[in-house]
């Protein structure tokens, strides 16, 4: 038994903090642990902690051996996880056990053997002493006298003017944060007579290739050349469309007169909510569903929103066929595709 097992908090005497002279918060009744009063229990706890550290050391060595020796092509069946790579499993378990036992050993040590008396420490006052405050005020006053800040009016005013102006260039520099978006948000690379081609295989599409109920993920024919030139996928992100064919009798409305071709409708693939690419097209209901936030658009009715957080309809691309009978665009989209932005209006 040592002095720390007494019921008096550290640093106090008779309920008074020896440094601050303030009364200490009274502590509850302290029950000594078995290891505090029984040397055999203390010895046992010591052995337990030492065992954890020793097993940890063995596990770490074992992890290194497992990394070298266990083949990483063998799969072991571990319920409920299924087949697991033997190398990953053994290295992970041994290394994890090694770290875990260092932690448990330290906690067991602290709980069983380190002093367990409650300690309360009083905070000291945070204000500066009156002497320090007076000295600080003196320095400021002497500085003002010595510099003559109150005396030289012209200097004081010109200094204030200079200080007021110096942040102005920082506002001008804001312009360097990047070129203005210009028409980027309003235009895509679709234009008159650009052919529609299948995404990933880049073949031109004839109207008869799309049956009623059919869906084609398409991009503009000039996309690959533009991607090559710009070195990024931005234009793909804006110009991707889906083509669906709906029995003309079932088309309630579309965004412009004659924008379809015999019931083939082209709509942007980019959700007007936050811009997820969507082609979850349900051919029976003609609904286009966005998997991100469940916005649903009715492609048989101008792409209007029928459910979800999207605020605007899905933009439609006017299409027709060229002289060779391939589907081409009549023009670019007539409204900005994708999510709303500040200046969109």
């Amino acid at each position: 038994m040592n002095e720390l097992t007494s019921n008096e908090p550290i640093g106090s005497k008779d309920g008074i903090d020896v440094v601050s002279g303030l009364p200490v918060y009274p502590l509850g009744h302290h029950e000594p642990r078995r290891a505090d009063i029984d040397p055999r229990a203390a010895k046992r706890a010591e052995r337990q902690v030492a065992l954890m550290f020793a097993v940890s050391a063995l596990s770490i060595v074992g992890a290194i051996i497992a990394y070298i020796k266990v083949p990483n092509t063998t799969l072991i069946y571990v319920p409920p996880f299924g087949p697991v790579n033997a190398n990953h499993l053994s290295v992970g378990l041994l290394f994890g056990l090694g770290i875990f036992l260092i932690g448990t050993g330290a906690i067991h040590w602290a709980k069983k053997l380190m002093p367990d008396v409650e300690v309360s420490e009083e905070r000291h006052t945070y204000t500066s002493s009156p002497e320090d405050k007076a000295a600080f005020g003196q320095v400021i006053r002497e500085g003002k006298e010595a510099s003559g800040f109150g005396e030289y009016k012209l200097i004081r005013r010109t200094l204030l003017g200079a200080m007021a102006l110096f942040p102005l260039p920082l506002i001008v520099f804001l312009r360097d944060l990047g070129p203005m978006p210009g028409t980027k948000l309003r235009e895509t690379i679709w234009e008159k007579d650009v052919a529609l081609v299948t995404d990933a295989t880049y073949r031109k599409i004839r109207p008869e290739d799309i049956p009623v109920g059919g869906l084609v993920n398409a991009v503009p024919a000039n996309l690959l050349a533009v991607e090559e030139e710009e070195g990024n996928l931005n234009q793909r992100g804006k110009a991707s469309i889906i083509l669906v064919r709906i029995d003309p009798a079932n088309i309630v409305s579309q965004q412009g007169e004659g924008w379809d071709y015999q019931g083939i409708l082209a709509y942007s693939k980019i959700c007007t909510h936050v811009g997820c690419p969507i082609s979850l097209y349900q051919q029976r209901t003609h609904h286009l569903l966005c998997p991100c936030h469940q916005s649903t658009f009715d492609l048989s009715d101008s792409g209007n929103v029928v459910f979800g957080p999207a605020a605007r309809r899905m933009p439609q691309l006017p299409i027709t066929v060229d002289a060779e009978g391939y589907l081409v665009a009549q023009s670019d989209f007539h409204e900005p595709i994708g999510p709303s932005f500040w200046e969109r209006g």
Partner: protein, 258 residues
């Protein structure tokens, strides 16, 4: 000093029960069967008509012209019949937002007869031959690209299916056989759109099927795949199991030693 009201092992017990329940949820695996394609003959058409009148006409009409309970089958082709009846989706068990795949009600011969009858009503996609779904020389890389472009939006990037609107869903492809996948692409069952042979050629359809076969075969060297749904199930798993373990350890650290 607060006295512990629970047995120290109680939290571990709760954790293991939670782990066990989670594991059991991933245990169910089912396999589908599909019948073989058969040659058409006039007796087969007659048999098919008979079967149709008995089993299908109440919804699809006595001449397969359709009714308020079921669509017209004229021109849907043999492939649609083979897919719908072969996967057990038809006949419907009852009115529902979407037909569920279940063990087929008809035998392979009966399905072939039904398909022959419906095919005789009007031209439509035929049942793909074994050669058409032979993926041994297919292009896996192109198949993956086409799958991610055309299929993954509904069937999930790992082919595990996903939710659609109003309680509909895109089915899991893990048990789909090549013929079923091919038939689904050319017929557009239920709300699935049709992917015609012109926009996705028969060769490219093989590539897609090859990719799906690769997904079906893929192992999970990292352990449980948690449905391959991505961050949602993984997040729920670590939230319950990971936080559970942390709580148990915190309780142990905070418990007063005796």
């Amino acid at each position: 000093m607060a006295i512990s009201r629970r047995h120290p092992a109680a939290l571990f017990a709760v954790l293991f029960v939670a782990l066990g329940t989670t594991g059991a949820a991933y245990a169910a695996v089912s396999t589908g069967t599909a019948p073989q394609a058969a040659a058409t003959s006039s007796t087969q058409v007659d048999e098919g008509k008979q079967l149709f009148l008995e089993g299908c006409s109440s919804c699809h009409g006595v001449a397969a012209q359709g009714s308020s309970d079921g669509p017209s089958l004229i021109g849907v082709g043999a492939a649609a019949v083979d897919f719908q009846v072969g996967s057990g989706r038809m006949p419907l068990a009852g009115p529902a937002i979407q037909a569920v795949d279940k063990p087929p009600v008809y035998t392979e011969e009966e399905i072939a007869s039904l398909a022959a009858y419906v095919a005789s009503l009007g031209a439509g996609p035929a049942i793909p031959s074994d050669e058409m779904v032979d993926t041994s020389n297919a292009d896996l890389v192109l198949g993956g690209e086409l799958f991610r472009t055309n299929c993954s939006q509904c069937h999930n990037v790992a082919g595990r299916g996903g939710a659609l609107s109003n309680g509909r869903w895109a089915p899991n492809l893990m048990a789909a056989d090549p013929k079923e996948i091919y038939e689904a692409m050319i017929t557009g069952p239920q709300n699935m759109p049709v992917f015609s042979d012109k926009t996705i050629t028969p060769e490219e359809k093989k590539d897609i099927i090859r990719y799906i076969e690769e997904l079906q075969k893929s192992e999970n060297p990292g352990g449980a795949d948690l449905g391959r749904f991505g961050p949602v199930t993984e997040g729920v798993f670590i939230f319950i199991v990971g936080l559970g373990i942390l709580i148990v350890i915190s309780v142990w650290i905070g418990a007063k030693a005796r």
